[in-house]
Amino acid sequence: MDSLDFHKEFLSKRAKKITKEILEKSSEKAKQDKSFSEKLARGKLKIIILADNKEEGVPGEFTINLRGKIQELGFPCALGSEYYNQMEDCFDEDIETEIGLNNVIILLNGRNPVLVGESKMTRLIENWKNKTLFFFQYETEEELKARAVNKEFPIDFKYPIPYTNLADLEAKTLFGVLHWHYYKYRHRDKIYVECKENIGNKDEQQI
């Protein structure tokens, strides 16, 4: 799965203007920057957004915009629908395997947490559950409390995050992604294994 139009488009427009002198200066600047390793490491955190876009779920346009904002932060991010479109001749199992290769799964489900197949997958597979940020909607604080008391929310997920409206959902998703990255990077998660060599003392890091 190698489609990443946002970053490709951004780079292909600028690649022609790159000169050796510019690269020399940039490389020198990078060498002196303490957060160089962390900035590059963002590229290693593969993210996928799975969303229920039907009925009371989040609108499709919102998920596309959200993907763009995550990509702007420097993370490779794809939508579940892209996997299904590009692998339309493949078995569902193969698509699920590909989806499972992502490091973070963002599951946006509105009020219908069991409508889509991926939602079921994220509950069934332990490895998926532990890397899923699950967002669900509520309207009032009273409702949220009542839902917790009455167990009216999916208890399978390690990270269930309630949201009120789309602006709240966007802010919490971006916060969640960045926090995940900083936390995993600081705790030397295996996905950043190549960056370990340059991490040095944790306290010296600018994150």
């Binding site: 799965m1 190698d2 489609s3 990443l4 970053h7 490709k8 951004f10 780079l11 292909s12 600028r14 690649a15 022609k16 203007k17 790159i18 050796k20 510019i22 690269l23 020399e24 200066k25 940039s26 490389s27 600047k29 990078a30 060498k31 920057d33 160089f36 390793s37 900035k39 590059l40 963002r42 590229g43 290693k44 593969k46 990509q71 420097g74 993370f75 490779p76 794809a78 190549e194 960056c195 060599e197 340059n198």
Partner: protein, 105 residues
């Protein structure tokens, strides 16, 4: 005649990889290759990359080997070409935003 690509036909498979992820972004030849791949993606042959970047084929092969080891580049057996991956594009984007963009303006 079997047209299937043989593993041993790909010269880079037998080369050892070295250099860290970060070092590939501090090496000028490597950066040049990545920018070229980003512009022309996907499925580029080694000799095409070498000719257009004016870096000798041996160096290109060695650097591409290291990029594959770091999951920055993949090889397509059918099309016999190299492609910058999601990770490669996003990491180069981060490098560009952090250090190149200001130099260009």
């Amino acid at each position: 005649m079997n047209n299937k690509f043989k593993y041993s036909e790909n010269p880079i498979n037998n080369m050892a990889s070295n250099g860290t992820f970060e070092e590939l972004f501090l090496n000028l030849d490597s950066l040049q290759i990545m920018y070229f791949l980003a512009e022309k993606n996907p499925n580029l042959a080694i000799n095409f990359i070498a000719k257009n970047t004016r870096i000798n084929e041996e160096t290109v092969t060695s650097l591409i080997t290291q990029m594959i080891a770091k999951q920055l580049v993949t090889y397509n057996e059918e099309k016999k070409g190299y492609t910058l991956t999601r990770v490669g594009l996003a990491s180069l984007y981060n490098f560009h935003k952090g250090y190149v963009e200001n130099e260009q303006n």
